[in-house]
């Protein structure tokens, strides 16, 4: 029934898409003070967006196969979360499965997916390498019920969800914890192409599925511009853990422009992350649940990433080779025993990634928002990672 692009069967519409990114990453910011290069397939995903009743009922699903392609994570200096450090964790197999009902002014959604908090998921942004602030600026893969109301230029969303983050790529939310956390997000679109959001979340025990870990109080503010050839975003985020015992800040700015088939992009961020005890079996992994709820210190990562993507097309296959390079600086914030010079053998380094984004079908939609729905179809939104080549 599904064809690449949109399939229409009477009053039901559906779109699907597939993508995968074979990428080689080399970096000298590696535990133990060495260089490491790896070829992996990252962000392999199948997406299905279906709609019925004149788009008043929508199903949004994304299956992410990183459980199989990067079970030990993606080499990514500075990335952290879900017991991974300096490797970006694989996302869960059922990345997103949401049922959305309502219209443009009033809508509600339920399922497993994104919490209305912060900015778009990095998968749907230009830079392939995830930012350090992923766990400061997004909350995802939760059992969530949300509602949104739009009044003119203002969209207000609120949600209840489970605080526990995934414990493995095959895990589901702890259903008995549903409703122990909440979030709200206010979005204003004062101009065409300009979107400003502020959001707040209270996340109970994200790092201990049993609920014994401290809560996070998270805040985010961002301005996003996407119009014509240009895309840009600036964001700020703050997470206070354990009632302020630990505070993590992040500021990030990124942009991209379409120049024919080329899409150069740049991102600069400065983000804090907790340093935790690494496992004997892997210095890229940490203990879960976090032991004694104590950390070894906080490091501040300054990462400047620049890249270029070339959008090509072979039949139905969109082929987008890219290259991106990062300069990375690591500094200690406050006290603690963690010393990046000892652990990494350096406080400055680089990372280089060569790869190709392969995709067919629908383009990657904005991930993390269920209220912005194009009137003509399901999920057809231009995304900043896409170059100008159109089908």
């Amino acid at each position: 029934m599904c064809l690449p692009g949109r399939a229409v069967a009477q009053r039901v519409t559906a779109e699907w898409g597939v993508q995968a990114i074979p990428a080689f990453t080399e970096t000298n910011v590696v535990p133990g003070g060495r260089s490491l290069g790896e070829l992996r397939v990252v962000q392999p995903a199948v997406m299905l967006h279906a709609a019925a009743f004149g788009d008043r009922l929508r199903l949004i699903g994304t299956v992410d196969f990183e459980k199989y392609t990067i079970p030990h994570g993606e080499l990514s200096p500075g990335s952290w979360g879900e017991s991974f450090e300096d490797r970006r964790h694989p996302h869960t197999l059922v990345h997103e499965l949401m049922l959305v009902g309502g219209g443009r002014r009033l809508f509600a959604a339920a399922g497993k997916g994104f919490v209305p908090f912060g900015t778009d998921d990095p998968m749907s942004r230009p830079t392939v390498r995830f930012p350090v602030n992923h766990h400061l600026s997004q909350i995802l893969e939760r059992a969530v019920i949300l509602a949104g109301v739009r009044l003119g230029l203002v969209l207000l969303e609120g949600a209840l969800f489970n605080g526990d983050e995934p414990v493995s790529p095959g895990s589901w939310p702890a259903w008995d914890r549903f409703g122990d956390s909440w979030s709200t997000r206010l979005t204003v679109t004062p101009l065409e192409g300009l979107e400003v959001q502020g959001s707040y979340a209270w996340v109970n025990s994200p790092e201990d599925r049993g609920g014994a870990a401290p809560a996070d109080r998270k805040a985010s503010a961002a301005a996003r511009w996407e119009r014509g050839r240009w895309y840009g975003e600036v964001e700020w985020a703050r997470t206070a853990t354990a009632d302020g015992a630990f505070i993590f800040h992040s500021v990030l700015a990124e942009g991209a422009v379409t120049l024919g088939k080329n899409r150069p992009y740049v991102r600069l961020e400065r983000s804090d992350r907790p340093e935790e005890e690494r496992l004997f079996s892997s210095r890229f992994r940490t203990r879960r649940p976090l032991f004694d709820n104590s950390i070894l210190g906080i490091t501040r990562w300054t990462v400047l990433t620049a890249g270029d993507a070339l959008d090509l097309k072979w039949g139905r296959l969109r082929t987008t080779p890219f290259v991106e390079a990062s300069w990375i600086g690591i500094a200690r914030v406050g006290g603690g025993v963690f010393d990046p010079q000892v652990f990494f053998g350096r406080t400055r380094g680089v990372a280089l990634t060569l790869g190709v984004r392969l995709a067919t079908g629908m383009r990657m939609p904005r991930m993390g928002r269920y209220g912005g729905w194009p009137s003509e179809a399901t999920g057809r939104m231009d995304m900043p990672m896409h170059a100008g080549a159109e089908e």
């Binding site: 014994a212 004694d292 104590s294």
Partner: protein, 398 residues
């Protein structure tokens, strides 16, 4: 003899033995391991799990984090419990706030106070471990629980120290003084005589720090008139204490290559662990240090035992007859209980081990207790799979 020992040591190493030495000395060849008999694994609610256990008079005070303190009969007889069949007697979730913020009870450690003067066995002191940054900051109060009725314990008092959190305890019970390691706050002595009620923070007798940036104290122990303190940053210290007034007797700064952890002092020797949550100078915390105490009680390092396949020696204890040394180990394939004979207390020899594997991180704390003539080892198995592990090690105690 030395060369023969070296040859034996090399053979053992080549066979993958876990015991070696890092101080230039070589252990005598270990005798054949005795029998460590598994007795029971008591599951603890996965509300973080179990952190420590205080065993006295056949009662186990299980420090079960956000599940509070759980009192088990493991041979006392009050509820028909045995080491093989522990029976829950009572439970209390202590105050789950810290300075007005909800953080969970976080019951970390305990000490059941037997007052030899009044013969009271009324108070249980509980350490609450709040969040902290290792080496820099900490939080958590001391909660006082009335256990006159073991089936219905009640929290009656609280001790708080601003800017620091409590860790392990020791008591001078005859003088009713509680000594507490206080991480970045150093060491604290508290008067716990008489009736304890409400905020007892004003009962602090004295406190001692080892210097800014050099203080993160794990544990304390009284021995032969001195208070010994193991500091994660600045090493092993001997302190004078006269009715709780603290002063330095012998300077630490003696474990520069590793971070320190727990301690046990007995029979003219001290045994201290090392912590490897972060490798200090690139060195893991897989060593047990052996110290000989001089005439005045000052420690001198005489040997070390390095265990491969772990990163932390998290708890240390010697049996009541000074024959058997035990330490718990975490983070690695050799995590678990390790037992050494103290035939020569300066050079312990491997007697046995009980390793835990699978999803757990290891054994975080381990405690001896002699019940009905048998020597048992009780250990807190880390999550996931948190449990109180009980071993019969009587046969090792020869």
């Amino acid at each position: 003899m030395t060369s023969a020992r070296a040859v034996v040591g090399a053979i053992l190493l080549s066979m993958g033995a876990a015991c070696s030495s890092d101080s230039g000395t070589t252990n005598p060849p270990p005798p054949p391991p005795g029998d460590v008999v598994f007795v029971d694994s008591l599951p603890i609610p996965q509300n973080y799990g179990i952190h420590d256990q205080f065993i006295r008079d056949g009662l186990a005070f299980v420090c079960a984090w956000n599940s509070g303190v759980m009192i088990y009969d493991v041979g006392n007889g009050i509820n028909g419990g045995t080491p093989a069949n522990p029976q829950l007697v009572g439970q209390l979730v202590t105050t789950d706030t810290l300075q007005g913020q909800h953080i969970g009870a976080r019951v970390h450690n305990a000490w059941w106070f037997h007052n030899p003067v009044t013969m009271e066995q009324k108070y249980l002191f509980i350490g609450q471990e709040g969040s902290g940054t290792i080496g820099a900051s900490s939080s958590g109060d001391i909660h006082v629980v009335d256990v006159s009725d073991l089936t219905s314990p009640k929290e009656v008092a609280l001790f708080r120290r601003a800017g620091a959190g409590t860790h392990n305890f020791w008591m001078n019970e005859s003088k009713a003084i509680l000594y507490a390691a206080y991480y970045n706050g150093g060491v604290v002595a508290i008067d716990v005589s008489g009736t304890l009620s409400g905020d007892i923070s004003s009962r602090m007798i004295d406190t001692l720090s080892f210097g800014a940036g050099d203080t993160y104290t794990w544990g304390v122990q009284l021995y032969n008139g001195s208070l010994y303190a193991m500091d994660m940053v600045s090493g092993f210290w001997q302190l004078n204490t006269a009715n709780g007034a603290l002063s330095v007797a012998a300077v630490g700064n003696n474990v520069p290559e590793r971070f320190g952890s727990d301690l046990w002092v007995t029979n003219g020797y001290a045994y201290t662990g090392t912590w490897g949550g972060f490798p200090r100078n690139g060195v893991s915390g897989n060593a047990l240090k052996v110290w000989q105490l001089g005439a005045a009680g000052a420690p001198t390092l005489v040997d070390s035992i390095v265990t491969t396949g772990i990163t932390t020696v998290s708890d240390v204890e010697v049996s009541d007859d000074n024959k058997l040394l035990m330490f718990s180990a975490e983070n690695g394939p050799n995590s678990g209980f390790w037992f050494y004979r103290l035939t020569d207390p300066a050079h312990p020899t491997l007697a046995g081990k009980y390793l835990v594997s699978g999803t757990t991180n290891g054994i975080h704390t381990a405690t001896f207790s002699r019940i009905n003539g048998k020597l048992y080892a009780f250990g807190a198995r880390d999550p996931s799979g948190a449990a109180l592990i009980i071993l019969d090690v009587t046969s090792l105690d020869q």
